[in-house]
């Protein structure tokens, strides 16, 4: 009789105490991170009477979207009561030109810095990088003065310019690092083929930039959408972005605070970056890792 040779010894157990510990830790951590989101959503779906009873964790007994519609169209941000939708559209109007312009600026800078030897370019890049670390408060007041003098303070143009200016270090770094990773021989070949600064950029380099353009877009959209301080300082009353409006709603209520409206407004303000985050997945991580000054 011939028997197959069985493996000898104890077969290691799959689920050890260690494995259970690992999952316990991860689940606990996940709960910590999910809890505020859960509470926000639940609160926003409850009427105030239910909220006053406490138990912020529970599912709404009588689910209602009233708070959402109120937050969108009639919540008070100070004296006006037009809801956070005003801020939403302001944010969109700020976002689109700011993102496009800052990415164009970053791409051109990065391209010029990594492929063309321009005198003093390294010094320029160095100062720009250092600028990324300086607290904004150091620049704000003089900038306000400059914009006042040129007459564009408190306008859409003003806030867009500010976003482009302060997006420059990260965007330039992002594109410079990406382009530095492209084979230099490609650029050499294009030079021999007779390409100039702009034709090489448009015909050879830009078509290869899709990944970094995606990363830059994610980074800038979330960054600019989430901005508070620039919007507060430069946008002007007419153009206040959603974050500032949200803060006004939450802090300007008189009498009892309508927590459900606050939370609905908060969710609305968080929606755009959250959607981007969930849709983009790994690209988002790539973006923040790339944005993490590592030049």
């Amino acid at each position: 009789m011939t028997a197959a040779i069985e493996p000898q010894g104890r077969r290691p157990r799959r689920l050890t105490a260690g494995r259970i510990g690992v999952y316990m830790f991860l689940v606990t951590a996940a709960l910590f991170f999910l809890l505020p989101l859960w509470i926000m959503v639940m609160t926003s779906l409850k009427p105030m009477e239910e909220i006053r009873l406490g138990n912020i964790l529970s599912l709404p007994a009588a689910m209602t979207f009233d708070a959402w519609s109120k937050a969108w169209s009639s919540a008070c941000t100070g004296l006006e009561c037009n809801g956070i939708s005003v801020g939403f559209w302001n944010s969109v109007r700020i976002l689109i030109p700011s993102v496009i312009l800052s990415i164009i600026a970053g791409a051109i800078n990065g391209y010029a810095l990594s492929f063309w030897r321009v005198k003093g370019a390294n010094v320029l890049f160095g100062v720009l990088l250092l600028g990324a670390f300086i607290p904004y408060q150091v620049f704000l007041y003089p900038l306000v003065r400059i914009f006042s003098l040129t007459g564009i303070y408190n306008s859409l143009l003003c806030i867009v310019l500010v976003h482009v200016i302060f997006g420059l270090p990260t965007m330039t770094l992002l594109f410079r690092n990406y382009y530095a990773g492209l084979p230099i021989e490609l650029f050499k070949a294009a030079r021999i083929d007779g390409g100039g600064f702009w034709s090489i950029f448009l015909r050879v380099i830009l078509p290869m930039s899709t990944p970094i353009l995606v990363v830059a877009t994610i980074l800038q959209v979330t960054g600019i959408w989430n901005d508070f301080i620039f919007g507060l300082t430069f946008a002007g009353r007419e153009n206040l972005p959603m974050t500032v409006q949200l803060n006004n709603i939450v802090h300007s209520t008189q009498g009892e605070r309508a927590y459900n409206v606050d939370m609905a407004a908060t969710m609305l303000a968080a929606l755009v970056p959250l959607v981007i985050y969930f849709v983009s997945g790994r690209w988002f991580v790539r973006g923040i890792a790339a944005g993490a000054v590592k030049g």
Binding site: E185, L186, K188, A189, R191, I192, D193, G194, G195, P207
Partner: protein, 359 residues
């Protein structure tokens, strides 16, 4: 007629001088190979000729024109790179016609030239593919095609075969040689660290080391009459045997002496006047050591036998040093066998032990 002339060129990166006063003249239609280990400056020299980096000093002439400050596109050159450098988002056809489009060549002319080059390289079926749909060998063919359509007087190759596997490398090597023959008057400058490519392709080889030209000569000259110890050791595989010794006047005239071994040098073609008593290094190619019944140098013992098919390399030693001997494949030898070697003074190289230069 001189096609390319590098005159006293210096190149500097940041503050570091890479070349100092390097000169080289290349004839029209010549196939020149720049050969040397990595970091010897061969690629830098090629880039300087292409105009891809600025020279700090000196001049570069192509086809009788001073192009030192010309843009790369205006120099009448084409270039093929190690990494192919195909534009990834363009089809093969677009890759090949990009340069002509930039130069505003009429469309019909572009099509004609692309078709001709594609035909020559047998890549016509690939014209509408993207580079990432091609194999390594096909990519390099396309890169050569892109260079071909430029109708350049001078072709520059920067290690074009180094990214390919051995079999493809041999194929494309032959193809480049054939191309050179078909194009007739096109000058080619080819950078490589591979001595087989250099030996098989070149009309003349320029051996470089540490940013200096060591020797310029035909493959045969480089192989048989290396100008110094570096060239002698760099070219040839298995490597040339080196034996330290000195020159002595004996009854038979001048002789090489190492220990109790000697080699009469009456037939050696000295290029300098030898000084008796001088310390020298004798270089002998493995295939120039002959195993005979009775020769000049008896008393060697076989260490290792490496059969290589056509040839067999025998490592042997006499207690003071070890030599490699190359014989035909049929030759049988076993470790421990006794050998007697014979050397012909006509086929050796002598170098000064002091400077390393050929004597």
């Amino acid at each position: 007629m001189t096609a390319v002339s590098v005159r006293d060129v210096s190149v500097a990166f940041e503050a570091v001088r890479v070349f100092d006063g390097l000169s080289l003249d290349i004839e029209q239609g010549e196939f020149i190979v720049l050969l040397g280990p990595s970091g010897c400056g061969k690629s830098t020299l090629l880039n300087a000729v292409a105009g891809l980096l600025d020279v700090a000093n000196g001049q570069i002439w192509i086809d009788g024109r001073n192009v030192t400050w010309e843009e790369p596109k205006d120099r009448g050159i084409a270039m093929v790179f190690q990494s192919y450098a195909l534009y990834p988002r363009m089809s093969v056809r677009e890759n090949m016609s990009f340069g002509l489009k930039m130069a505003k060549t009429p469309r019909a002319e572009i099509e004609k030239r692309v078709a001709k080059a594609a035909d020559l390289l047998q890549i016509t079926p690939l014209l509408d593919r993207r580079p990432d749909q091609l194999s390594g060998g096909q990519r390099q063919r396309v890169a050569i095609g892109r260079a071909l359509v430029r109708d350049a007087a001078v072709f520059l190759f920067d290690e074009p075969l180094s990214n390919l596997d051995a079999k493809l490398r041999n194929e494309l090597r032959v193809e480049i040689k054939r191309l050179h023959a078909r194009l007739g008057k096109t000058t080619m400058i080819y950078v490589t660290h591979d001595q087989i490519e250099a030996m098989t392709l070149a009309d003349r080889i320029v051996v470089m080391k540490e940013q200096k030209i060591q020797q310029i000569g035909s493959p045969d000259e480089i192989y048989r009459r290396p100008a110094n110890l570096f060239v002698a050791g760099f070219v040839g595989s298995p490597q040339m045997n080196f034996i330290k010794g000195r020159l002595e006047s004996t009854g038979e005239g001048l002789s090489f002496l190492a220990g109790d071994r000697h080699l009469p040098l009456s037939s050696y073609p000295f290029v300098t006047t030898p000084v008796p008593g001088q310390n020298v290094v004798l270089g002998v190619r493995p295939e120039h050591l002959e195993i005979t019944g009775q020769g000049l140098w008896p008393g060697f013992k076989v260490d290792i036998v490496e059969p290589m098919g056509a040839d067999t390399v025998i490592w042997c030693s006499d207690g003071t040093g070890s030599l490699q001997v190359r014989t035909t494949g049929s030759r049988r030898a076993a470790p421990g066998d006794n050998l007697t070697l014979h050397v012909d003074a006509l086929q050796v190289s002598l170098f000064s032990a002091e400077t390393g230069d050929r004597l």
